[in-house]
């Protein structure tokens, strides 16, 4: 089978899976006495209602791109980093601390730069630590990364209650950061900020890294066959730490762009589902950075539309979570169906070939 038809098949089956997920989740609406088709129409019309809303789609997609990349790059190496949420929080904590500490003292662009660095490295450090535990102590990275998220969430709540708490002491949040340290808005009359561009750039970079460089080849080689990679002189242990470092770095960077670009402060439970959405999107985009870009925009749009839908009608905004779940399951099932179809095709061809002999 040529590469092109395979890509087309993948696209078609993913499209079908998304449609099925969308329809199935809206099919539950009659239980609430709501007409499903009209709300489906409302969902789409509210997504594109005005310039600002369209911009919001991309603002919401940006962190999703990064957490999805975080999962995908580890997944390519057969590692399961399902703790992007925690690395995201660490990134956000580092970014907000650096910004609040340095703003108005040094030039604004330096503040942003240092906040970005701190956020990414903070997330990367958590990732590398998980990698170290895996490489050195054979700890199950899946379990450790999962647990680290809960630990970090508590740590964040503690910091927000004590050291980082706003001056007014009303809510679990920090003070707002100075507008000079905000990531600049790059498209007028929207909230699309520089972070959106950076997230897209990150996706392209990860694509180049994975498929066009030696370092990326090593990541994938370990994922495909760790023993064979070892024979070729790649040390899977070192590679594991490095891969999880990059994975955490991406999630931490997402924390930075959310704090400096979108929220302009750190609040408790910031984007509490960005990690799990990232996993869903990575699967939807079959762990390919380009696929992830499209899947992130799709979910950014659904989240934007879902929020509006929740405001203007009785449809709960959680319908989007429901949909994401169904879409993920259907995408996974579609992998199986495609595998089955191609298997039976091969069998038929083989059968023909045998007959000719």
């Amino acid at each position: 089978m040529t590469r092109k038809t395979r890509a087309a098949e993948a696209f078609l089956s993913t499209f079908l899976a998304i449609t099925a997920g969308l329809l199935l989740s809206f099919a539950f609406l009659p239980f609430m006495g709501i007409h499903p088709l009209s709300s489906l129409g409302l969902l789409f019309s509210s997504m594109f209602s005005d310039r600002y809303t369209i911009g919001t789609i991309f603002v919401k997609a940006a962190p999703l791109i990064l957490t999805a990349l975080s999962f995908a790059i580890a997944y390519r190496s057969n590692l399961f980093n399902i703790g992007a949420q925690g690395q995201f929080y660490i990134g956000a904590i580092c970014a907000v601390s650096v910004t609040l500490g340095l703003q108005n003292r040094i030039p604004a662009f330096l503040v942003i730069l240092l906040a970005g660095l701190a956020g990414s490295l903070g997330g990367g450090a958590v990732g590398a630590l998980i990698g170290l535990l895996k490489a050195k102590y054979h700890a199950n990275e899946f379990l450790v990364s999962m647990m680290s998220t809960y630990v970090i969430a508590e740590l964040m709540d503690y910091l927000l209650r004590t050291f980082l708490r706003e001056k007014a002491k009303d809510y679990l949040q920090t003070d707002s950061i100075d507008p000079s340290a905000w990531l600049p808005v790059i498209v007028g009359k929207t909230s699309v900020h520089l972070g959106v561009v950076l997230a897209v750039a990150a996706a392209l970079l990860v694509w180049v890294l994975l498929f066009k460089t030696q370092a990326g080849f090593r990541i994938r080689a370990v994922g495909l066959n760790a023993e064979a990679a070892r024979m070729c002189g790649i040390r899977p242990e070192t590679q594991c730490i490095l891969t999880l470092f990059i994975s955490g770095l991406l999630a931490g960077f997402a924390g930075f762009i959310e704090v400096n670009g979108m929220q302009h402060m750190l609040i408790t439970g910031l984007d509490a589902d960005v990690g799990s959405y990232g996993i869903g999107i990575a699967i939807l985009g079959s762990a390919n950075p380009i696929g992830i870009l499209f899947a992130s925009v799709l979910f950014g749009a659904l989240k934007t539309g879902g929020t509006t839908l929740g405001q203007v009608s009785n449809v709960p905004a959680s319908i989007i979570d429901l949909m994401e779940g169904f879409v993920m399951i259907f995408v996974l099932i579609s992998y199986f169906v495609r595998h089955k179809i191609s298997l039976s095709k091969t069998k038929r061809l083989l059968g023909k070939a045998v007959k000719h002999d």
Partner: protein, 303 residues
């Protein structure tokens, strides 16, 4: 202190239940990574069932049905469709978060006051409950806790002393041999996962209708994963899982206790995070593992 210990055992029950199901499933080679979703849907189903029927028994039965349903979805996709168990589990967990939140809203709307049911009562064992100290700790628990204590040795017996147990263990170690013996590997695995679904459903409902008497979206918040970790740390042995479960139950109880004290700069969050930190530490410290050989891999019959 006595109250804290009694509470520790009380909190360890669902963890042990979930871990027991996980042990049986993992022995056959199936990691039930959907355990968090099973717990959550169990908690949800238990609450809904108990709220409408006003009966805790029916609530728990509803929870079992919910747990089995999630387990079935997970089993069919991982066993028969051979999808990666970690990826599928994550997908199922996300779906369950959405389903529970959405349908809670569908059924109850947005109530101003939290809806409640009467939680599971304490059931003192006659005579034994009057023993000083020990009686209060061990024999003033609820029915589910007693049943869990009976279940652990039962599962141990099942795994090591019965031919069914041998089949279960062999399925995880050497599925080809089981297949050759004329036993259908995938059926054994399916049933083991459904068993984990039953116990996971009960465990989930224990949090909603057994403990606080209501349902919130954050009711499970990783407890399913802790049960998953306990199976792992208990070396796939129900008895050791019981021990590990009590340790985690204690840290859970201490966390709840410290939180109730309120605090200033003192990091009470540390105690809430204790079970999770403990899991990480124990995963790192424990070196010897006895993992089933085929854990996490689908069985594909050679033709």
């Amino acid at each position: 202190m006595i109250k804290l210990l009694a509470n520790a055992l009380f909190m360890s029950t669902p963890l042990i239940l979930g871990a027991c199901g996980e042990v049986v499933a993992e022995r056959t080679g199936m990691m039930v990574t959907a355990v968090e979703g099973i717990f959550l849907f169990g908690a949800w189903g238990g609450f809904v069932g108990a709220y409408f029927t006003k009966s805790l028994l029916l609530g728990f039965l509803a929870a079992i049905a919910c747990g089995v349903l999630v387990a079935l979805l997970y089993a069919v996709t991982t066993i028969h469709m051979q999808q990666n168990q970690v990826v599928m589990g994550t997908a199922v967990n996300i779906l369950m978060t959405g389903i529970c939140e959405f349908f809670y809203r569908v059924i109850f709307g947005t109530p101003l006051e939290p809806l409640t049911v009467k939680p599971l009562p304490v059931l003192p064992v006659p005579l034994l409950a009057d023993i000083p100290v020990l009686g209060t700790i061990l024999f003033r628990q609820n029915l589910i806790t007693y049943l869990t204590w009976i279940l652990v040795p039962a599962v141990l017996f099942l795994l090591y002393k019965t031919s069914l147990g041998l089949t279960l263990r062999s399925t995880g170690e050497n599925p080809e041999a089981v297949d050759v013996a004329g036993i259908r590997v995938n059926r054994v695995r399916l049933l083991a996962v459904l068993f984990a679904g039953i116990l996971g459903g009960i465990a989930g409902a224990y949090y909603s209708i057994g403990d606080i008497g209501m349902y919130t979206t954050s009711i499970i918040s990783g407890r399913g994963w802790i049960a998953f970790a306990i199976c792992f740390l208990g070396n796939w042995n129900p008895l050791l899982a019981l021990g590990a479960g009590v340790v985690f139950g204690t840290s859970d109880a201490v966390g709840v206790y410290v939180k109730s004290l309120g605090s200033g700069f003192f990091p009470s969050e540390l105690f809430t995070a204790l079970p999770y930190i403990l899991t990480i530490l124990l995963t790192v410290v424990r070196r010897r593992f006895n993992a089933p050989a085929k854990l996490g891999t689908a069985y594909v019959k050679e033709h």
